[in-house]
Each structure stands twice: as structure tokens, then as C-alpha cells.
Symmetry: C2
Subunit: 220 residues, 2 copies
């Protein structure tokens, strides 16, 4: 008699994928473009969201879902920019899942929005495993984290559709090797788009914002 | 009739605690001082380990356990410093657990060592939940990550016995507020020791190394 085994992890991911597909259909029928924004702690997710709002908030209707283990620090920063924002506190969970997004979207409202940015929990590991029904996975690596991160956190760099390399204003004070990180990431993920920027100074943002605006327009 | 419920997460943590207690006994009977070193990605765990080896490697027998999802980049850096090192690749898992440490210690060897440093997976969330039998949990926050991290990742800052605030050489180029981070962390965890350092320039390291050496000596 053979033993029947349940792989709990695969089961969780399978259930998540079904909910994510359902969210994807809702996003598509509402013609809202959805970004799943991921990075390690303090790489500049919220600063990047604020830059996107400043650049595109007058032309497009934007909503933001803020994922954090605790606190509403980031949600309050976003709210000051005058866009709709919902805070998810995961109470210890290390990533967002599709079920949380389903709840958050009921509060946020999808209809009439052009862009929803989901700011995931700051973590280079777990969020990469969970689809949220997004159009793209956008990840941020910041210069002070170092150019060896793609080798150490391969799933995130393989899953991402686009990579923002933030805090290039700190490059002169670190040994960050931009050519090396581009070479390694492109070898792992040839289709990825890479944008070196400084969310602080604004350097490099034009090219990223233009690329993002085209995605929003093409989705309408 | 009442329904019997198994909380899978508590069950995992309970099993881990039993193994961690067993490791703790082994560490105590061998008089080896054990550090569980945790931080987000790229905060400077490996640089700090190398500074410890450079300062104390001639006086004390040091062993290092390197935890990474993938790659042996860090283990090779440590090996060049001439200390025993074992690499654990978690293959996707977001933290080390006591069972992994049990295996690694069989390869590394505990007997005769004064200090074992366990470099956990770069993640401010999950590693904080898993005891490894260590004497202290040492965490690193780096200046470019920002002073708002304690509010967002409270468990790690509450569990840590000591906090190294690394990359203070980058402070002039960021809005990092050292007083604010100290105030918030001390409110959450009044017993914590805090050491602002630059593993790059060496600034502030003396005080941290002296504190650590006293811990090793008191443990003998």
C-alpha cells in the first residue's frame, strides 16, 4: 500500500495561485495595471512609490496597497500624496499573499483606477514565491546592499520583470559594481529590464517613469 | 464534541525549540560562545564576521556557519581568513533552524572552539522566530536601510540582545537619525546593547570587540 503524502508548501502555493488568477481576471476586466513591488528592507520601495505618484498622479488614477509586518508608517507617507491607500499588517507573516490582496482591493476599490502598486513586505526571499495577480513583479536592489545579492537571492531576481537599482547617489562611497550586477542578472533573467536610479536625487527616474507610463497606456 | 486543532506553525517552533535546547547544552558543555547573527540583506554580516576574526582570531579559536539560500560567496571570503567554516544552503528556506545547526556542527566541530558565529539568512523577518541554541542574538541594522526599521520589523529588534548599527560612514549622505533609532529600540527592548560602527573604516569597532571579548572570556 502506498503512502499518500501532502506537500504543505506546494498546497499553500497552489491555493494562492488560484486566488491570484481570480485577482488577475478582476484587474484585467477593470483595465488596471498592477505592480507587485518587492525588495529587502530599506531599499527604497516607498520612496519609489512616491516618485511614481509625483510623476504620474495627475494623469492617472493610482491606488496603493502597503504591506508591512507592523506599523502604518509608509501608508501615512503615501496618504499625504493624496492617493487612495490601504495598509495590510501581516502580524508576523513575511510576505503578502493573494488572499490579503483580495481583501485589500475590496477596501481600496479597483474600478476607475489605472495603476495599483502593491508594496510587499521588505524581504528578498519569501515574497518572490507568491503571485498576487499582478501584471509585473518589480524589484528594487539598493547600491549599499551590494552587487553579490543576485547570487544569494536567485528566485527574486529570476521572477522579477524589472529591476530598479536604487541609491546610485551612494555609489561613490561603496564598492558596488554596476556592470557586474547587470551581467549576473541578465545571465539569470535575460528578459529583465534594469533601471539604475536615485529616488533621492531623481537621477535616472525619467527612463523608468517613461517605461512605466507606456505599460499603463498599453494596458488600457 | 470539541474539534482538535493543530497549529502547524507552533508545532514547528516547538520542535525547533527542543533541538535548540539540545544544541545549547552541547555548546555549554564545550564552553563555546555562540552568536546568532541576523540582519536584512547586505547590512554587513560577513564584513562584521571578518572584523571579528581579524580582531580576535589570534587569541581565540573561531568557527563560522554561513547560512545562505544559495551560493558559497560568503563562506569562501571567511575561509580566506583561515578559520573553519561550513556553508549551509537552505535552497529557498528563509531562515536557519536548529536542525540545520545540528548538522553543520557535526562537520564544523564544536570541541576546542571558543566562539562560533552563525551567519543567518539575510532577512529581517523569519530568522527572529527560530532559536538556534545560541548565547546571544546579534542583529545588524545598516544606516542606508533607514531609522524606521524597528517599527516595521519589531520582533527582530525585540529578540536581539545586541544591535550593531553598521555603515555609519554613510550617515552624512542619508537622513538616518541615530538618536531616533536608539530611542525607539531602547523603548522596545531596554536591555539591548547598541554599537554604532563602520565595518568598512573600523570606526566604533573597538567598543564592540571589547564587549564581545568579555562575553567569550566570561563563558570559559
Amino acid at each position: 500500500m502506498s503512502v499518500k503524502t501532502i506537500n504543505v508548501n506546494q498546497d499553500i502555493l497552489g491555493a494562492n495561485d488560484i486566488l491570484a488568477e481570480s485577482m488577475k481576471s478582476q484587474f484585467q476586466s477593470s483595465k488596471v495595471y498592477v505592480i507587485n513591488l518587492m525588495s529587502g528592507p530599506g531599499a527604497g520601495k516607498t520612496s519609489t512609490v512616491i516618485r511614481i505618484i509625483e510623476a504620474l498622479g495627475n494623469k492617472y488614477k493610482i491606488g496603493v496597497i502597503e504591506g508591512d509586518i507592523a506599523s502604518d508608517v509608509d501608508a501615512r507617507k503615501i496618504q499625504e500624496k493624496g492617493v487612495d491607500v490601504v495598509q495590510i499588517n501581516t502580524n508576523g507573516a513575511c510576505h503578502l499573499d493573494a488572499n490579503m490582496i483580495m481583501s485589500a482591493c475590496k477596501t481600496l476599490g479597483i474600478e476607475g483606477k489605472d495603476l495599483i502598486i502593491i508594496e510587499n513586505v521588505g524581504n528578498l526571499v519569501c515574497p518572490a514565491e507568491f503571485n498576487l495577480g499582478e501584471n509585473i513583479k518589480l524589484m528594487i536592489l539598493s547600491v549599499p546592499e551590494g552587487h553579490d545579492k543576485p547570487l544569494k537571492y536567485p528566485l527574486m531576481f529570476t521572477e522579477a520583470n524589472a529591476l530598479v537599482i536604487n541609491k546610485i547617489d551612494l555609489s561613490p562611497f561603496t564598492d558596488f559594481n554596476m556592470d557586474e550586477v547587470k551581467r549576473v542578472v541578465m545571465a539569470m533573467n535575460p528578459a529583465i529590464e534594469i533601471f539604475p536610479v536615485s529616488a533621492k536625487t531623481g537621477h535616472g527616474l525619467d527612463s523608468f517613469i517613461n517605461w512605466l507610463e507606456k505599460k499603463i497606456q498599453d494596458n488600457r
